[in-house]
């Protein structure tokens, strides 16, 4: 337990300090969402309709942006060697690293959603619904993205490969995240069904992600 707590503490410290990923993620999210009204035009009704989708896409890209350093940084400085040799199961370490990444990058995205909702003409209920679906869905983005990060760790320019690998896997999360948000805003379909599926996607990625990531890290040792 001490070992896993140490991993979470270290990764969060690194993310929150100079050059870390936490602030970059939120700023990128902000930029993407702010750009949208300029591209779509000042049609408030249209913005309100597209709002949940824009917020979800922004969050997806922002969490992907910082994921490629999840294992590459440890690989480049040699920490990964010692982590693999350690007595703590690699699967648990992967889960701890993903949790730290979500706390440092995913959670701030959820917290920023209400502010960005204002820019997209979303009312309080709609913003709340999007924030809730992001809270339930971003763990799935982090934990599936981690598998791609582990696969890309030994390759140069792994960040590009990561996007190609992970974006298709994120499609179900995106579909049900936006569907649940829209159901809460405009109906008529119930909110509960897509939201339950979104939660199920997150929970299954919490289980599968660490095992897949650990397996690909072990395989990629050189």
């Amino acid at each position: 337990m001490t070992a896993l707590a140490a991993v979470i503490r270290r990764d969060m410290r690194v993310a929150l300090r100079v050059g870390g990923g936490a602030l970059i993620g939120v700023l990128f999210f902000l930029t993407v969402v702010v750009l949208m009204p300029f591209a779509v035009g000042p049609d408030l009704a249209l913005l309100k309709k597209l709002g949940p989708a824009i917020l979800w896409l922004g969050a997806l890209l922002a969490s992907l942006l910082t994921l490629d350093r999840l294992f590459t940084a440890d690989h480049d400085d040699g920490s990964l060697d010692l982590i693999v040799m350690g007595r703590t199961p690699l699967e648990l370490v992967c889960a701890a690293k993903a949790l730290a990444h979500w706390l440092a990058v995913g959670l701030p995205l959820v917290a920023a959603t209400p502010v960005l909702g204002l820019l997209l003409n979303l009312d309080a209920v709609a913003t709340g619904a999007v924030a809730l679906t992001l809270l339930a869905g971003t763990p799935a983005l982090t934990f599936t993205g981690m598998v791609g990060a582990a696969l890309a760790v030994v390759l140069r320019r792994g960040g590009l490969l990561l996007s190609v690998l992970v974006l298709p896997l994120s499609i179900p999360v995106l579909i049900f995240g936006v569907a649940a948000s829209n159901a809460a805003i405009s109906g008529p379909s119930p909110f509960g069904t897509p939201f339950s599926i979104l939660c199920a996607l997150s929970l299954s990625s919490l289980v599968i992600g660490p095992f897949a990531a650990a397996a690909s890290l072990r395989h990629g040792l050189d």
Partner: protein
Amino acid sequence: MRLSGNGLRCVRGGREVFSGLDVAAESGHAVAITGPNGAGKTSLLRLLAGLLAMEGGSISLEGGDPELTLPEQAHYLGHRDALKPALMVRENLSFWRDFLGGGKSDESDALAAVGLDHVAHLPAAYLSAGQRRRLSIARLLAVKRPVWLLDEPTSALDVTGQAAFAAIMTGHLAGGGIILAATHTPLGIAVRELRIGGAA
């Protein structure tokens, strides 16, 4: 305690680095692995550390903890220092102590032993190459492991640093530890030499 590897074979990128290699070390003894560049010194250490797939042969550690594998009972000091530039010197060391399951031993002692106690609050980004290496060595002291696998441990160390490290290694051997070190320069301790690769 006795560490032995028999008939080890290592293949990297489709090229055989070495095969049929035997290596053995007992408690209190150090083995210096020497040989020309590319002979497979680092590969041998990484093989023992479980960081490379073994293509043939066997590795065993007699007299160790039967519940643990060899990598779990070994320290690996590689070319890369495993430090986070954004973290302070003390934070870097305490992370590895916690992660590797070190005891309550105060990390201040380990830092003092490598002469870094005066920069404990500095981010590791500001350390020189030699100081980074000293900080890695502090990790060996903060967490007890019987087997030390060292890859060019004295690179970047100054003369006093090398002498201090020789004393640290002597202490480890006196406590019944095992050291395998890949090196080009004399370590300053009594070693048995294992020369691999090339007749020269």
